[in-house]
Every structure is written in structure tokens, then in C-alpha cells.
């Protein structure tokens, strides 16, 4: 009887001792990302966990957090312990340096391609058969066309939309700043609803049946067509669009405190490997790896793409000129116009 008790208590003691050991062998990472990457990172995290288990024997569990890009950046600034951030635009990550000094200023130089392992662009989603014959940006400013796009002041994706339209106007014959401003003003006069985020706009267009054309992330447009039926929507690729680079970085202060720098860096590097690139392409992000890109060339149409650095002098400048309070976008809606 007594012996049985001893055995039992030993067993319990063993269990208690083993518990923290099990916890030690498991590494936790938090990836703070933006809205449309949810499905991609689910697949990617599983793939990385297998890779890392094989390589180091450690079990890594990557937790995901998704939301509007700006909101996510603010959460990290306010202390959400993100090991890595993978956001919609560099400006939001810049703020993590500016406001909280969690990362060095040159963070974007640390990984290839401006720290953007995959890219995307802005395309049009129109209703089946393209009843309003929308082919390019200049069709969007015609009277009677209703354009759905979110509010650039609250949505990262919407800023890419706006800048792509601006870039198109600049590239036209005799295009200049004043003409571009007039062009986007006319464009936004055709916008009946400004949702606060990209998914909200997709819903307005798809579920509520509002608008003739939706300006969308390429991956969101593919998702809408493939999930909701090829018989309902078509993708139209404009003559000029913008190269959207959603960048990634390790959050230095967090990984150094938790001692997870190595695995976090490996996690981001894995995004650049053929496996990671393949997964990105499967989820309709344009891969940067040449070989993978060649394999998916059929999926992604060739577009003339301008870059934010080349055309707008970087995000900080674009943000200040166009989207800050009193900037060009606010002037479009200034009273008396």
C-alpha cells in the first residue's frame, strides 16, 4: 500500500518536472501581420515548423495576429510582444522605429528586396462581362462610374490604390502634379462609400452589390474571383500600376529580451527560400525568387509597375504630402469643392 503511494507520488513528481521541460523545448514566436495574409501565414507557419524541427530539433509555434496594418503597428508600439512584423507598408514599420525605437532605423536594408519577400500590385475587379467597359484608370473618372476603394487615411491598401492612380496620371502625355491632383479628385468624386479597411470594401462591392469597379490588392482580387465564383467577377489589369512591397522585419528589442532572435531571423529568411516563395505564390503574392516567379508567370500578368521610392520619394514623403492632415487627399474633400 505504502509502496504504491510512493510510486504514485514519484510519478506525479515526474510529471511536474517534465512539464517545464516540455515548455522549454517549445519556442514561441508572434508574427504581427495585416489582414489579407491570414491564410498565407497559416500555411507558411506549418511549413516553417516542420523545417525548423528538422534543422534544430526545436518545436516552434508561431502565433499570428491580423488586423489593419496601422492598428497592428500601434499595438506593437504600445507593447504587443511581436517577434516579427509583416505589415502592408514600410511607413507603418518606420513608425515602430520612430515612436518606440524597437528596431533600428535601417531595418529595411537588412533583408533582400527592401525586406519584401513577396510583392503585390493593385488591380481592378469588375462585374462579369465588364458591362461598363473598364479597361484602364482613365475609365474610372468617367461620369456615372462608381468606384469602390477604402479610405486611404485608415487603410494601408487604399494608399497603394491612391498612389497607383496618381502614378498613372503622371505617366500620361503632359502629365504633371497639378493634372495628377485633378485626376485623383475626379476619381474620388466617383467613390460613394469609403470603408475603413480593404476587406470592408471587398464586402461592399461583392456582398452589397455596390459600385462598378473595386480597386483591390491583386491577391484579394484573385481570392474574390476564386472563392465567390468566376461567373460573377473579372480581373482587369490596368496599363500602369504600383509595386506594392509589404515588408517584414524582426523586432529587435522583443527577440533580444526573449532570446528568440535566431529562430525569428530564420523565420523571415525562410520566406525567401523556394518553399516560402512557392507558398506565397500559391496565395497570389508575387514571388521575388526568379525561378518560382517563372513557374507562376502564367498566373500573374505583366504590368508596368512604378515604385514608391522611384515615383514618390519613399513612404515618409508620400505620407506627408498626400495623407497627413491637410494633405492632398484632405484637400479633395475640403468644404466648398
Amino acid at each position: 500500500m505504502k509502496q504504491k503511494n510512493v510510486v504514485r507520488s514519484l510519478f506525479v513528481a515526474l510529471l511536474i518536472a517534465a512539464f517545464p521541460l516540455a515548455a522549454l523545448a517549445e519556442v514561441n514566436l508572434l508574427n504581427v501581420s495585416y489582414d489579407p495574409t491570414r491564410e498565407f501565414y497559416q500555411d507558411f507557419n506549418a511549413s516553417f515548423a516542420r523545417y525548423w524541427q528538422k534543422k534544430s530539433g526545436e518545436t516552434v509555434v508561431v502565433k499570428q495576429s491580423h488586423g489593419g496594418s496601422g492598428k497592428q503597428a500601434r499595438a506593437v508600439i504600445d507593447g504587443l510582444g511581436a517577434a516579427v512584423v509583416t505589415l502592408a507598408l514600410a511607413y507603418d514599420i518606420d513608425e515602430i522605429h520612430d515612436k518606440a525605437k524597437l528596431i533600428p532605423e535601417n531595418w529595411q536594408k537588412r533583408l533582400p528586396n527592401n525586406s519584401s519577400p513577396y510583392t503585390s500590385t493593385i488591380v481592378f475587379l469588375v462585374r462579369k462581362g465588364n458591362p461598363k467597359h473598364i479597361k484602364d484608370w482613365n475609365d474610372l473618372v468617367k461620369p456615372g462610374i462608381s468606384v469602390i476603394t477604402p479610405n486611404p487615411k485608415t487603410s494601408g491598401g487604399a494608399r497603394w490604390n491612391y498612389l497607383a492612380a496618381w502614378a498613372y496620371a503622371l505617366k500620361q502625355k503632359g502629365g504633371n502634379e497639378a493634372k495628377a491632383k485633378e485626376f485623383v479628385t475626379r476619381l474620388y468624386k466617383n467613390v460613394p462609400v469609403l470603408d475603413s479597411g480593404a476587406r470592408g470594401s471587398t464586402n461592399t462591392f461583392v456582398q452589397r452589390g455596390l459600385g462598378d469597379v473595386l480597386l483591390a490588392w491583386e491577391n484579394e482580387a484573385f481570392l474574390a474571383v476564386n472563392e465567390l465564383g468566376k461567373d460573377k467577377f473579372e480581373i482587369v489589369v490596368p496599363s500602369v500600376s504600383i509595386l506594392a512591397e509589404p515588408p517584414v522585419t524582426v523586432v529587435d528589442k522583443v527577440v533580444d529580451k526573449k532570446g528568440t532572435r535566431k529562430v525569428a531571423e530564420e523565420y523571415l529568411k525562410y520566406l525567401y527560400t523556394p518553399e516560402g516563395q512557392e507558398l506565397a505564390a500559391k496565395h497570389y503574392y508575387r514571388p521575388t525568387d526568379k525561378k518560382v516567379a517563372a513557374r507562376y508567370a502564367r498566373v500573374f500578368p505583366k504590368v508596368k509597375l512604378v515604385t514608391i521610392d522611384g515615383e514618390f520619394g519613399g513612404w515618409r514623403k508620400a505620407q506627408k504630402t498626400h495623407f497627413a492632415d491637410g494633405g492632398v487627399f484632405d484637400q479633395i474633400y475640403a468644404p466648398g469643392k
Binding site: K99, K153, D195, S196, D325, A334
Partner: protein, 282 residues
């Protein structure tokens, strides 16, 4: 019976122990939950100079959003006051099959996540929705207009008036009305002189709660408002917009103005309620 209970309570000094500790806990609790976060808000606003603060909170877009937010919240609370009293009356005075279900239905806007409410309302009232498709041909657009905001605010404020007026009506015995009728009062007089003064304090409380809730609402309105600058942009959205630009000081400045205005309005309603209660007691 009532007098006896009052007396016994007075002798023991109430069920809860002593004035000191209870007030202490109240102050501590209020500070922790309400005052400390709010003072942080004011503190953050202080990083602006007085001039910047004024420019921030009186820009044309912000002013338009105040008008929209407070105006529609007031209208929504008014609608709820009228129909809330009616609902409470029906629930108290009549017995009918399915009464329990209707009673429970009233609380639903409390329980529903506001985003769900917003998406549902937008679906129903948009041009291809169940209700919207019949209103649109009549030239009435609800979703993505200020009218949509009113609908959402009315929806989320519905339970307040019903739930504050209901217990008062329950306590009001039908004999009081009968007595009034016996003394020669007609229906309107009975309502105005007997019923209304009794329920007025509770009605004002319900109105104030519904109003405050509507002013602060964000989640449901955002989906149905359309969010066009100067037209259908509510103040909470402007605050979020400022946060999105990492303009913490600007956001808190607008928020503190909103807070101040709400506080003054609620205080005014409470004073009104207090005087109406004195009137009713006379």
C-alpha cells in the same frame, strides 16, 4: 411596512458596513476603472499647445463630425424614448402569447457584437437588401447615408428606455389610473397628469443612457455610414483616422472634447431628471 423597513435600516445603518469604507471603495473603484484612464487621455492632450489644440478640435471636418454625431445621437435617443415607452407599456400592461420572447428580444442589441449589428444592418438596408430594395425606388437611401447612422444608433440604444421605464410602470398600479378616471380625467389628462410625471425621471435616465451609448458608438456605425468626409463621418471615426496617422495628441484632443461635451450633456439631463423627480413628488 415600508416605514418599518426604513426604520430598521436606519437603526443598523444599512446592510453594508459603514459610510467610510463603502465610500472609500467607491472612490477607489471609480478611480481605477474610470478616472485613471480618462486622466491619461487628458494628460496626452496636454502635449499640444493651446493654439494647436484649438486648431485641432475646430477644423471644419471635425466640426461637421460633432454635428453629425451629437445630432443623430439625439434624434436616435428621441426615437427610442417614444417607442421605448410604448414597448415598455405593452410589455407591462398586456398578456399575450410570445410576450417572454419579445421581452428577451429587447435585450438583444446589448448582447450582439456591434460589428455584427453593423454588417447585418448594412446588408438589410443596402440597395439589394431585404428592406433597402423597397426603399431605394422611393428615393430613400438608408445604408451609406446619415440616415443609416440614425438606424444603427437607434438599434443599439433600444434596450435602455424600455429597461428603465419598465420597472416604474410595473410599480404603478392600474388603480391610480382608475382613480384619475373616477375623478373625471379624460385619457389625455390621465396620461399627462398621472402617468407621464411618474415615468419621466426613468424616461430621462433611459434617454441619457441611449444618447451616451449612441455618441460613443463606433463598431456598428462604421459599416453602414459610408464614411464620407463632411457628410457621414462620425467623430469616433475621425479619432481612429488620427490614430492611424500616429497622431496620438490630435486623437486625444478630439476625444477629450467629445468627452467634455458628453459629460456636460449627461449632467444637464441628470439635473433635469432630478428636478422632474421633485416635481413628481410634490
Amino acid at each position: 411596512m415600508k416605514i418599518m423597513r426604513l426604520k430598521s435600516l436606519k437603526m443598523e445603518g444599512g446592510v453594508l458596513p459603514g459610510f467610510g469604507p463603502t465610500l472609500g471603495y467607491t472612490v477607489f473603484y471609480l478611480s481605477l476603472i474610470v478616472l485613471i484612464p480618462l486622466s491619461a487621455l487628458v494628460f496626452k492632450t496636454m502635449s499640444l499647445s493651446w493654439h494647436e489644440f484649438l486648431a485641432e478640435v475646430t477644423s471644419a471636418r471635425v466640426l461637421a463630425s460633432y454635428r453629425l454625431t451629437f445630432g443623430t445621437a439625439f434624434l436616435a435617443a428621441l426615437v427610442n424614448a417614444v417607442f421605448g415607452v410604448l414597448t415598455a407599456w405593452v410589455l407591462v400592461r398586456y398578456r399575450f402569447p410570445g410576450k417572454k420572447v419579445i421581452d428577451a428580444l429587447v435585450d438583444l442589441p446589448f448582447a450582439l457584437p456591434t460589428a455584427v449589428a453593423g454588417i447585418t444592418l448594412a446588408t438589410v438596408y443596402s440597395g439589394n437588401g431585404w428592406i433597402g430594395r423597397y426603399l431605394e425606388p422611393l428615393g430613400i437611401k438608408v445604408a451609406y447615408t446619415p440616415l443609416g447612422i440614425l438606424v444603427a444608433m437607434t438599434f443599439i440604444g433600444l434596450p435602455f428606455v424600455v429597461r428603465t421605464v419598465q420597472p416604474v410602470l410595473e410599480e404603478l398600479e392600474a388603480e391610480v389610473e382608475e382613480a384619475a378616471v373616477c375623478l373625471g380625467a379624460n385619457r389625455w389628462q390621465t396620461f399627462r397628469r398621472v402617468l407621464f410625471p411618474t415615468i419621466l425621471p426613468a424616461l430621462l435616465t433611459g434617454f441619457a443612457l441611449a444618447f451616451a451609448r449612441a455618441v460613443g458608438e463606433y463598431g456598428s456605425i462604421i459599416f453602414i455610414a459610408g464614411n464620407m468626409p463632411m457628410v457621414s463621418e462620425i467623430t469616433p471615426l475621425l479619432i481612429i483616422t488620427k490614430l492611424e496617422q500616429y497622431d496620438y495628441a490630435g486623437a486625444t484632443a478630439v476625444a477629450s472634447v467629445m468627452l467634455g461635451a458628453s459629460f456636460i450633456l449627461l449632467l444637464a439631463i441628470n439635473l433635469l431628471q432630478w428636478s422632474s423627480r421633485r416635481y413628481a413628488e410634490r
